[in-house]
């Protein structure tokens, strides 16, 4: 691990870079999974008075606008070479966090649909610009060999905090906590981005030079050179990650509406349940970090799909058991279900933080992270939300819903195994001389 070497040599500046990246990304991710995903639903339904379906439509608009803004800003960053300029990225992030601070502050006072719509519009601009600007920091701050571990640290921090310090899923609570956390963040970013504080400028300049060494991602270092945006090498992971987010979101949306599944897990009154899930998140994120660093990325995807299949197999078994023996139903579900779910989520989140920078160079990081995170993260979540709503309208039973999710996970798992095998088969066939049958 490069971090240990830095620590041994007492090189504090690169170590500070690790801290900045982990801090930005963990807080940003925590903001997305709490304030944006849960807080806006509460704001729309409880304070503005819309139905869940109407709020979901607005959330869809948020996802699409975010994707659009992310791609535009990512491409612009690459074309104008801002992606390889750390100071510009700090300035962009300062603008993003300042805007988000204002939006977070005013959110609990919104009472009308037009105001809610305006919030969504401004929110998607902040999120869209924030995606390439924040992920782009990886090429300046995190060495390639440590990206798995750093991603694991981000995942562990975000999910441990979210589980061990659970908040009421209400916009006022989220707003108060987020504003408290964002104010020092904005101040720190302001200092970093100002270019007017001498010692800080030297630190930023030292960090900015690092992209010469860290810039070319792990998957761009082979004989085939950098991964091109229009290549299968880029779109393959995008499709797989899209599948991961889709499967997760489609299943989770139904699970959190089933009291027996959440009352001894994410909404348990017992602190020990939250602590257990938090610890599982931390442990599995660390495992994922080690696996990411030491194995090919397809192994990680296989693990993720396999884990989601296992998770939904557990959940569907609970539902089937309750159907066979109704007298046994009504009690809480097995804690194993939420634990395996936490493992699967930590795995793919770790993969998500490391994958996009590792598929990029300083010339492509803006576009690749924007397309990757925008499509795989935001669009997949929006589409699965729409499908989950359709299932609800069509009165699809819990068992059927979870069966679909399970089938999708199994299909992706099998599809990936077949794809890997076929790729090796084609490669073997190509390297064999057709006339003599002798390998070239």
């Amino acid at each position: 691990m490069r971090f240990v070497t830095y620590a041994r040599r007492r090189e504090w500046t690169p170590m500070l870079g690790y801290g900045l990246f982990v801090g930005f990304m963990a807080v940003g991710y925590y903001y997305n999974v709490t304030f944006v995903q849960l807080g806006l639903l509460d704001l729309g339904t409880r304070l503005v008075g819309m139905t869940e379906e109407q709020v979901s439509l607005w959330m869809a608009a948020l996802a699409l606008l975010t994707l659009f803004v992310a791609v535009v800003s990512g491409v612009t960053m690459d074309r104008k070479a801002w992606s390889s300029d750390l100071l510009v990225k700090f300035r962009l992030l300062f603008g993003v966090v300042a805007l988000q601070l204002v939006l977070t502050l005013v959110a609990p006072w919104i009472r009308t649909v037009p105001a809610f719509g305006a919030w969504i519009l401004a929110g998607s601009v902040a999120l869209g610009v924030g995606i390439p600007a924040s992920f782009g920091l990886a090429i300046d701050l995190v060495p390639v060999e440590d990206r798995g571990y750093v991603s694991a640290a981000i995942t562990a921090l975000a999910y441990f905090t979210a589980n061990v310090y659970p908040l009421d899923w209400q916009i006022e609570v989220f707003s108060a906590v987020m504003v408290t956390a964002m104010v020092p963040g904005v101040a720190a970013l302001g200092v970093l981005a100002s270019g007017r504080v001498g010692p800080v400028n030297r630190v930023v300049a030292r960090l900015a030079d690092q992209h010469d060494e860290f810039g070319v991602g792990r998957f761009c270092r082979g004989e085939s050179g950098p991964v091109r945006t229009r290549s299968v090498a880029f779109w393959g992971p995008v499709v797989l990650m899209f599948g991961v987010f889709f499967v997760d979101s489609l299943g989770f949306l139904r699970i959190i509406e089933t009291p027996s599944f959440v009352l001894n897990a994410w909404q348990s009154p017992e602190f020990s349940d939250h602590l257990a899930i938090g610890v599982v998140h931390v442990a599995s994120a660390l495992v994922a970090g080690v696996l990411y660093t030491n194995f090919e990325r397809n192994w990680l995807f296989l693990w993720v799909f396999g884990l989601f299949s296992l998770t939904h197999l557990f959940y569907t078994t609970d539902v089937r058991t309750a159907a066979w023996f109704p007298q046994l139903a009504g009690g809480p579900a097995s804690p194993l279900n939420s634990a395996v779910y936490a493992v699967a989520v930590s795995f793919y989140t770790t993969l998500n933080f490391a994958l996009w920078p590792d598929l990029s160079t300083p010339e492509t990081i803006g576009t690749h992270t924007a397309v990757g995170v925008g499509l795989a993260g935001w669009l997949a979540t929006f589409l699965s939300t729409a499908l989950a709503l359709y299932f609800e309208t069509a009165e699809v039973t819990l068992l059927s819903h979870l069966n679909v999710v399970n089938a999708l996970a199994l299909l992706l798992f099998t599809g990936l195994v077949v794809a890997i095998y076929l790729r090796r088969l084609i490669s073997a066939a190509r390297s064999t001389d057709p006339s003599s049958g002798v390998r070239r």
């Binding site: 792990r218 082979g222 080690v290 090919e296 990325r297 023996f325 007298q327 046994l328 009504g330 395996v340």
Partner: protein, 291 residues
């Protein structure tokens, strides 16, 4: 209300017993809670919770399995009763015409009750004999030592590759071993609950145990390399025997011994897996460059 975690495994046992005795699980009625007066048993009644009573004036037949709750016989029951857990009581004047078999749980038979035949499955815990213990350990060590020596003579690279991963990639080996072991164990237990997949589950468990045994050979190979024995196969054999005995002794150290044992086992298992049982040398993805 019956606790699902306690009742479900016993229900699986009941289904297995029924299948073994030629009864179809579809004919099973399960009673979980409340107080029920049983005047007629539809072939098989399973008492999983609450209370089921054959009233004083009633006479019914069939088969009863008790896995929880309470089964009371006040009248005549013409059939067999198997008790796996819970409570069974037969009152004065009541009776079970068939066999009443108790595996576990509490049974109370009044002096005036009539029981066709009564049996109790006794689980006698034998006193641990040091001779048997050490004898088994010796056989285990000798068996693995012979396998280790033979394998080293024929394909030394297999154990060398696993051993290299244990030494040089211990973190990856430990993580893979612990993670794969935990998920595979959960999967195999889950498979066993489906009944159909019991053979697959047993096969998986057996492969897991064999893999752990195989990792002992790799540890033995590593220990053997440090012994003053020139002959490679002999040193691996002696090393394996020493490792097996050492691992057992380690387990006798309170708390820390078990932790160290666990770490050694999972690291060995992980090393076996990441080297494909030693057929490939493990190389971290990052040192291979792009993948």
């Amino acid at each position: 209300m019956a606790d699902p975690a306690e009742v479900l495994p016993l229900l699986v046992v009941v289904v297995l017993l029924m299948t073994a005795s030629g009864q179809h699980p579809d004919r099973m009625t399960v009673h979980f809670d409340g107080d029920r007066q049983v005047t007629q048993v539809e072939e098989v009644l399973v008492v999983g919770g609450g209370r089921a009573t054959i009233p004083a004036e009633a006479s019914s037949n069939g088969t009863v399995y008790v896995v929880g709750g309470e089964f009371r016989v006040r009248g005549e029951f013409d059939g067999d009763v198997t008790q796996l857990a819970g409570n069974v009581s037969v009152a004065d004047g009541g009776g079970i015409a068939g066999e009443f078999q108790t595996v576990a749980g509490n049974a109370s038979i009044a002096p005036g009750a009539a029981i066709g035949s009564r049996s109790r499955v006794q689980f006698v815990q034998r006193e641990a004999s040091p001779v048997a213990d050490w004898g088994f350990l010796a056989v285990q060590a000798l068996g693995l030592a012979i396998v280790g020596a033979l394998l080293t003579r024929r394909r030394p690279e297999l154990l060398r590759n696993v051993g290299d991963s244990i030494v040089h990639h211990s973190v990856v080996s430990t993580v893979v071993g612990a993670f794969t072991g935990a998920t595979a164990l959960a999967l195999f237990v889950f498979m066993a609950f489906t009944l159909i997949l019991i053979p697959v589950s047993l096969f998986g468990m057996a492969v897991g145990l064999l893999s752990v045994g195989y990792s002992s050979l790799a540890y033995g190979y590593l220990v053997g390399q440090r012994l003053p024995i020139d002959q490679q196969d002999l040193s691996a054999g002696v090393g394996t025997a020493a490792f097996v005995v050492g691992l057992d002794l380690l387990g006798r150290v309170p708390l820390l011994g078990a932790v160290a044992q666990f770490l050694l086992v999972v690291t060995g298992l992980g090393a076996v897996l990441i080297t494909y049982y030693g057929f490939r040398e493990f190389e971290p993805a990052l040192s291979r460059g792009a993948d």
